[in-house]
Every structure is written in structure tokens, then in C-alpha cells.
Symmetry: C2
């Protein structure tokens, strides 16, 4: 699998632009837990995920977190190059949730090509619109869904990503995804356990009744 076959608008680039990208492209291996992009303090560049999993989140002044979106194989990470766009006035952090192989296009190179290529600029528009949709979905979740439904949805999402009903995840990590406190998650999971939906053990949540969680999620 090479970059050219995965980058969505490769064929719409001129030979010169293709050369510029290939000449500056870096393949980067990052370990699970690595902070790839830290607010506005750096401008890593555009990331194309060859394999792995990234999480974009924001931080409160008190250090609380909430996951904004997650990215998987073949996804493109735009906000790691947020310096490209003047109008981006927020700070996002991006970390590797799994060991990941990332293609990095330096922000300067991409920005210059975007300036001259309508195709790339329009592709970038669509990318941003996708992330915008993720964020609007999140607002709806936060505003109109109670936390029990959000926890149920998160456990089901994790189970689907990992392909298992035994989730190796701490209450702290779930709290950081959902923007709440560990204690609140612990209480909620204990309630789920008392209802027979999950079983809790050290550092793991085992899903026992997927149907009940699904029903709760959509209630």
C-alpha cells in the first residue's frame, strides 16, 4: 500500500505538485499514547493514517478532556495542520490511541498547493465539513442526551472498534472521552452492572447484554 493509491485527490494534482508532496512526505511511526499535536503550539502537518487510531480532544483549564472525534485507517487529520487556516481559533490536541503509522505532509507544502489547486482546496473543504459534522453530532449528544445513553453508546462504539466485548479500558479514560469525571463514570458503570448489562473487573468492562445497551442508547 503506497501513499499515492490512498491519498484521495492524488490524480488531480499536477506532476509538479505530486513531486513536491512525495519529496517532503515523511512516514512516522508513533507509539500508543504519543501526543502528536498539542493545541496551537505546533503545526505538525497534514496526517494520513496508514494504520492505527488517533483521538482529537480539547482540554479545559482544569485539565478535563473531551473527545471531539476519532480517526482510523485511511482517515486524514486536518487540524494537526491548523496553522494553515487563519480562521481556526481553537486549540485541539491529538494523541495516538494505538500504535500508528502516519504519512505526514508538511503544512507549508500542503498550504502552497492548496492555494493554487481548486481540487485540493475543495477536497480540504469536504474534510473540514466532515469534522464539522462530527462536532455538531457531539453538541447534540452533549445537549440533548443524558449521560447514561452517552456511556452506553461509547461502550458499543469501543466494542465495535476493538471487535470484542471485553474492553480493556479504565473509568478515567471513559471520563476523558465523554468530558466528565471518573467518579461519575464509575457510578454509571455500577448501575449498568446492577442491571446486568456489563461486568466490571480491574481495568476492564465486559459487555454482557449488548441488546440492553443498544436499547438504552436509543431510548
Amino acid at each position: 500500500m503506497d501513499f499515492q493509491s490512498v491519498f484521495p485527490v492524488w490524480k488531480k494534482l499536477s506532476a509538479m505538485q505530486q513531486k513536491q508532496i512525495l519529496g517532503s512526505l515523511i512516514l512516522k511511526n508513533v507509539k500508543k499514547g504519543t501526543l502528536i499535536h498539542n493545541g496551537n503550539t505546533d503545526c505538525t502537518g497534514l496526517l494520513l493514517i496508514k494504520s492505527g487510531q488517533l483521538r482529537a480532544y480539547i482540554l479545559s483549564d482544569e485539565g478535563r478532556e473531551i473527545t471531539i472525534y476519532r480517526l482510523f485507517d485511511m482517515d486524514m487529520c486536518l487540524f494537526s495542520a491548523s496553522c494553515m487556516l487563519n480562521s481556526i481559533q481553537f486549540e485541539i490536541s491529538i494523541e495516538a490511541e494505538k500504535d500508528s503509522d502516519l504519512w505526514v505532509i508538511p503544512a507549508e507544502i500542503y498550504k502552497n498547493i492548496m492555494k493554487e489547486s481548486a481540487s485540493i482546496a475543495n477536497y480540504t473543504n469536504e474534510l473540514m465539513a466532515s469534522r464539522f459534522s462530527d462536532v455538531m453530532w457531539l453538541i447534540e449528544q452533549i445537549m440533548w442526551k443524558s449521560l447514561d445513553k452517552r456511556v452506553a453508546a461509547f461502550l458499543l462504539e469501543e466494542s465495535s472498534i476493538e471487535g470484542t466485548d471485553k474492553l480493556s479500558i479504565t473509568h478515567e479514560i471513559i471520563a476523558n472521552h465523554l468530558g466528565t469525571h471518573r467518579e461519575v463514570i464509575t457510578r454509571m458503570l455500577r448501575y449498568f452492572q446492577s442491571e446486568g448489562m456489563v461486568k466490571l473487573s480491574r481495568g476492564a468492562v465486559i459487555i454482557l447484554e449488548k441488546e440492553k445497551l443498544e436499547k438504552l442508547q436509543h431510548a
Copy 2:
């Protein structure tokens, strides 16, 4: 004041593109309270506000509202043409908060020009990034700020927009801006009144101590 002098990237358009826009441009007058764009059911086109004020908001299944951002003179409204971008997977509603004069560029015309013009596509990128920043700010408010601070911030914003300390606004409207219930706002405003920050009367909130509200907002 004519469209050409206000549209930000006018000079970067070709003579042909300028002609296309001018040939299809509509100047629309809408009354306060008019629903200009209703979720995904229509694709009004790009709006440039000649004068007036718009509010973009989302609706829950139960009919609750929350304001996503507001637009003023010379602002451009992108999501009234959300059909232009395939990746927009959310429904936004836009209403006139004041009588407004709007220039409307039909979505089809703008989309075709954006396809061929890197300048317009990049301009659209910056527009979307601005709205993205508004939405990220909103998430931070919802997640990390208590409602008393959000109400204080909203009253100060309204006072600044209207240029007066006497706000003709109902508790219901404030609730719809902030995504909460009328009763919750009434309770909060009564608390503000008991602290001497505001005075409540029928259909109006009078700000008595701006400094106290500012202090609360940033506490």
C-alpha cells in the same frame, strides 16, 4: 454600498465568474422572525448580510433549541448553502433576528465557481474554519462553564449588540439561545436580581451592574 465592494474575494474572480454572480444575485428583504433556512429541506444559497442579524441554531427532537452562532452586517452565511458540500451531515436552522437585507448567491452558481477557482475554494475554507471556531467555543462553554456564567455572558453580548442596558427579551428566548428550559432561566435571572445585577420587568431584563456580570462571567 454595492455587492462588489463587500464580497471579500470579488477581485479574485474572473470577469466571467463576476458576471455569473451578478446575473443570479438576488437582494432579499426578510422580516424579523423569518425562518430563512430549515435544516436539510432546502438549499437557499450563500447569504451575504447587507444589514441585519441572523441566528443559526439546532433543534432537538423535542423542539429544544440552542444557538450555534450569530451573524451580523457583512457576514457571510455558508450553511444556508450546505447542500454544496457532501460531507455536511447535520441540520442547521437559520432565522432573522432583526429585519435584514440579504444578498443571495444561488448555491449552484457558487458551487460551480468554487469548483474551478482555488481562490473561492480557499475563501470558503476560511469561512468554514471561522464557523468551526464558533462551534468549538460553544462546546467549551457548554462543557466547562456553569450556566450562571453563560447567562451573564449572553446578557452582556446582547447589551453590546443592542447598544442598551434595557434588553427587550423573554426568558423563553434566552433559554432557546442557551439550550435550556425557560424555568431554569427564570430562576437564574431571579437570582441575578436578588444580587442586584439585573432588574426584571415584563418582557425585559435591565442590566443594573455590568461590572458584577462581567466579574461573574470570568469567575
